[in-house]
């Protein structure tokens, strides 16, 4: 067993700010990191704020690389992981967790599928046993599959096909802004692909990707690390590993021409517009600069786009978006988009909206941001990071992704510093390359109905 430990006690550092009696408080979290012989990565972060514990298992398989003839399969498969395992018949898992006062969920994202429980602290062992059981042994029937195909088809209808603006922009935009199939397919799934999936395909997928050497187990909450590690070994060391398939090439070519698309939405009453730009490679210096540009341009009512589009021009009531609309700027690994979206009134004003966006973005591509604006962006970023790191599930997610993609969960405590290292010059350089109009895709939703 490989072991690396960094024990950084939650530290409250009182730093006095110049000319001000206030103190800036820093927040760091304890991280312990191990790897079992079968390759399973284990991250522990104790926190006794409340007598609860979060257990999360992350598998390095997202919808991006699901089978080409089976769009939506990674997500359908996720549903099947709740349908039965060696020692848990259908229905037993949810009774086990919820019947003891816990909650659970799972989700399928670009680059991982996760399964987690948050439960009373003394039930940690129960959750570990259950996660180990389904890592070892998926046990499902054709009827289970048929049932969940029905559920997932209804899910796609209620979230996308039968909703105004269904899929806008989170599902629509990647399909038009990307060129590589892995990044550009319908990852919720075409109905005929979802309905065509077979039990054999489900088992093949399980045997390809659901192996301990392709996974991270993260535990956060009220527990003693030594005891937790012993339980992890007890239940997970016996899970046999197998080789997982090679990762395909998911890279995107550099975009050098603006792309524009429109989609008719017969259910919508008002038009909507989204703009997306490819972002710098994750964890590069420019990526951290892009995170701060997101704060400066888009986050909060002080942001430049809110002030221009909402407050000054009155073209919309809100602007939303960010890096990775199916998660955060931290939980993915691969090409990604920064997206801005809004609802507006008259399709004829879409040109006006784009020209306002252009003028805002031209400014950050022409002049370095002021130190004051950069500091405000840093404060906003820091405030959000504290929440992510403070909540049971947010911290588990951050640590699991950094273990899964980078083999370095300790980096959760370095994020703040990486953002602080960004200079106005780096912001300018990043904006010049990544906020180019030629790096952009524009998507307009056209309502069929007359505006009411």
């Amino acid at each position: 067993m490989r072991q690396r430990t960094a024990w950084i006690v939650v530290a409250v550092l009182a730093l006095s700010l110049a000319g001000c009696s206030r103190t800036a408080i820093s927040f760091r979290v304890p991280v312990e990191y191990y790897q079992l012989k079968n390759g399973l990565k284990v991250v522990l972060s104790p926190d006794d704020t409340a007598p609860i514990v979060a257990v999360a298992v992350y598998y390095n398989i997202g919808f991006r690389i699901e089978p080409r003839n089976r769009t939506g399969f990674a997500h359908l498969f996720e549903h099947m992981m709740f349908q039965g395992s060696g020692n848990l018949e259908k229905g037993a898992f949810f009774r086990l967790i919820q019947g003891q006062g816990g909650v659970f969920n799972g989700s399928t994202r670009f680059d991982f599928t996760n399964y987690y429980e948050i439960l009373p602290a003394h039930k940690l062992e129960t959750a570990l046993w259950a996660e180990a059981d389904r890592m070892k042994s998926l046990d499902i029937s054709p009827d289970n599959l048929k049932n969940q195909q029905g559920v997932v088809v209804n899910e796609v209808k209620v979230n996308v096909l039968d909703q105004p603006y269904g899929g806008f922009p989170w599902l629509d935009m990647p399909q038009v802004a990307n060129e590589n199939w892995y990044n550009a397919h319908n990852f919720y799934g075409d109905i005929q692909d979802l309905e065509a999936a077979t039990p054999e395909e489900v088992m093949d997928f399980f045997k390809s990707y659901y192996t301990p050497n392709n996974a991270v187990l993260a535990i956060m909450g009220d527990f003693a690390p030594g005891e937790a590690l012993a339980l992890v070994k007890k239940y997970f060391e016996s899970v046999d590993p197998f080789p997982r398939p090679e990762f395909p090439d998911i890279s995107e070519p550099r975009q050098d021409k603006e792309r524009t698309f429109s989609k008719d939405d017969p259910l919508a009453n008002r038009p909507a517009l989204a703009l997306a730009y490819h972002v710098p490679e994750r964890l590069s210096p420019e990526y951290f600069a892009m995170g701060l540009l997101d704060q400066i341009l888009l986050k909060g009512q002080d942001s430049l786009l809110y002030q221009a589009l909402v407050k000054k021009e009155g073209l919309t009531g809100a602007v939303s978006g960010g890096i990775n609309l199916l998660g955060s700027m931290f939980n993915y690994q691969g090409p990604m988009l920064w997206t801005v979206s809004l609802f507006f009134d008259d399709i004829a004003s879409s040109g006006r909206i784009i020209s306002v966006v252009d003028s805002v973005i031209d400014e950050v591509r022409t002049n370095p941001v002021s130190r004051e604006d950069l500091d405000t962006a840093l404060v906003k970023m820091r405030s959000g990071l504290f929440d992510t790191m403070g909540s049971g599930f947010g911290r588990a997610d951050l640590m699991a992704c950094m273990a899964l993609f980078d083999d370095n969960p300790f980096a959760v405590n370095e994020l703040e510093q990486r953002f602080k290292a960004v200079t106005p010059e780096l912001i300018l350089k990043t904006a010049q390359e990544y906020l180019r109009p030629s790096n952009r895709t524009v998507l307009t939703i056209r309502p069929k109905k007359a505006a009411q």
Partner: protein, 469 residues
């Protein structure tokens, strides 16, 4: 599985037990029993400190957590309930308008100040209450309280912003009218409450266009003041500095009026309403009726009934039936929706067009089944555990604590409500639950609303009760 998680493709599963095991990795082997786990740890509610200023403003401080942030929320007892007739959403536009500038600060300065504290200011209105709130870094808690106080007491209501804010409301209304869930809820509320303000979920374009500065200012003047207000601060903060900020910033506010009490009188009769939504691929079902509000002694038993039928877990019978067994739907749920001295229970589901009537039949079947026989001990125990577990989780976040305390205060639930909640839930017996279901989920009072493709579903719904417009 919750609606709020819509975009992250939540999942899930559970359900009925099927005998045929297709791929038996452990075929033949006996199933292993799960480990019991360790000894339960005590859960202690975070301590709170309450005080009242001379002008009647109440304040509650809760020191909680390790994250260096503080959530600040001012709750004011005014909302859609206090709107003049035919001025629906006036409360919303007024609350939104408040952060557009104060006597001393422009809207841009407010937004910039909040951002420098690591947060933002939000303001909005609901049926009974309006709020001004935000979540900031700990060191800025006193300063943020001063900002909230300024917005509450000195809003400028700059006329230059009126047209834009009204236009935003018109857009919001137009978008809401395209959403099947909103249409169903609006019809459901109208059926229960009629002309009472609780029955007016949506405004109209004419009403919004008619909002004037006079109407907005008069509404604000008539409804905001210290007596109706309660400030909550939850998280990590310097308590002394926070108390000083509250006294300094709110001490001079006018007392204002006492809360307006306008209880809804409800007496429903079984009915089915079909709202046409041409082209729908699914039907959105709302099935429910008025029930006792949280101040009533039976409200906890009713909460258990709700969790057992459809509320929030895969243990729920309706979810197990129409999702995990039948595959009719993705995210069915039931809830008890509350207002001051008012509540209704409702089961919601979006189901395929062709299974609209079968899904409705199963929902009504599950309600009847609970009325006819008490739940098994083990089933009830599981539900009680789930409720106490989620109670601990709710009380383990700043937002959860703030919501639960303001809810307790709004409904006047008494000082020991939270500390005895878990114990009282566990004391309920299967017979108590059956009795509550019989008493409050009466079939002859059940309202059914269906939004969908009328020509495909209307005929199949005829047997479910008198059809109403």
């Amino acid at each position: 599985m919750g609606k709020t998680m819509r975009k992250i493709m939540p999942l899930t599963g559970r359900g009925c037990i099927l005998a045929a095991v297709f791929i038996a990795l452990s075929a033949g082997a006996e199933r292993q029993a799960p480990p019991e786990g360790g000894k339960p740890k005590d859960f202690i509610l975070p301590a709170k400190e309450d005080f009242e200023l001379a002008n009647g403003l109440r304040a509650t401080l809760v020191s909680y957590g390790q994250v260096p942030k503080a959530m600040v929320g001012l709750m004011v007892r005014t909302g859609n309930l206090n709107e003049p007739e035919n001025e629906v959403w006036l409360a919303n536009v007024a609350a939104r308008f408040m952060r557009e500038g104060t006597v001393g600060r422009s809207a841009k300065e407010i937004a910039a100040a909040a951002a420098r504290m690591g947060g933002g200011v939000n303001s909005g209105a609901g049926s009974d209450t309006s709020g001004i709130n935000g979540d900031v870094l700990s060191e800025f808690a006193p300063e943020f309280i001063r900002l909230v106080a300024d917005i509450a007491q000195n809003p400028l209501f700059p006329e230059t912003e009126l047209g834009r804010l009204k236009n935003d409301q018109l857009r919001t209304l137009s978008i809401q009218l395209s959403q099947p869930e909103t249409l169903a809820l609006a019809k459901f509320r109208k059926t229960i409450y009629g002309d009472h303000p609780y029955g007016r979920l949506l405004s109209t374009a004419e009403t919004i266009k008619g909002f004037t500065m006079d109407k907005i200012r008069s509404y604000y003047e008539a409804n905001f003041g210290a007596v109706r207000s309660h400030l909550y601060v939850v998280g990590r903060f310097d308590a002394k500095a926070v108390k000083r900020a509250i006294r300094d910033a709110f001490g001079g506010w006018k007392r204002g009026p006492a809360p307006a009490i306008l209880p809804a009188k409800t007496d429903t009769r079984r009915s089915v309403a079909v709202v046409d939504r041409p082209g729908s691929q699914q039907s959105t079902l709302y099935v429910g009726l008025p029930v006792v509000d949280p101040s009533h002694t039976d409200s906890l038993a009713l909460e258990v009934v709700n969790f057992l039928l459809g509320g929030g877990s895969f243990l729920s019978r309706i979810t197990a039936n129409i999702r995990e067994n039948k595959g009719y739907t993705y995210s069915p749920y039931s809830t008890i929706s509350t207002r001051y001295r008012d509540a209704y229970w409702v089961q919601v589901a979006s189901v395929g067009n062709t299974v609209t009537a079968p899904a409705l039949k199963e929902i009504l079947y599950e309600i009847d089944r609970l009325r006819e026989e008490p739940p098994a001990d083990k089933e009830l125990k599981d539900i009680q555990n789930f409720m106490s577990g989620t109670f601990v989780m709710t009380n383990s976040s700043r937002a959860g604590i703030l919501n639960i305390l303001s809810n307790q205060d709004l409904h006047g639930l008494g000082p020991d409500y939270l500390s005895t909640y878990v114990q009282k839930i566990h004391a309920l017996t299967p017979k108590d639950i059956q009795r509550a279901a019989r008493e409050y989920l009466k079939p002859d009072k059940m309202i059914i609303v269906v939004v969908g493709e009328k020509k495909e579903i209307a005929d199949s719904l005829k047997g479910f009760g008198p059809v109403v417009e």
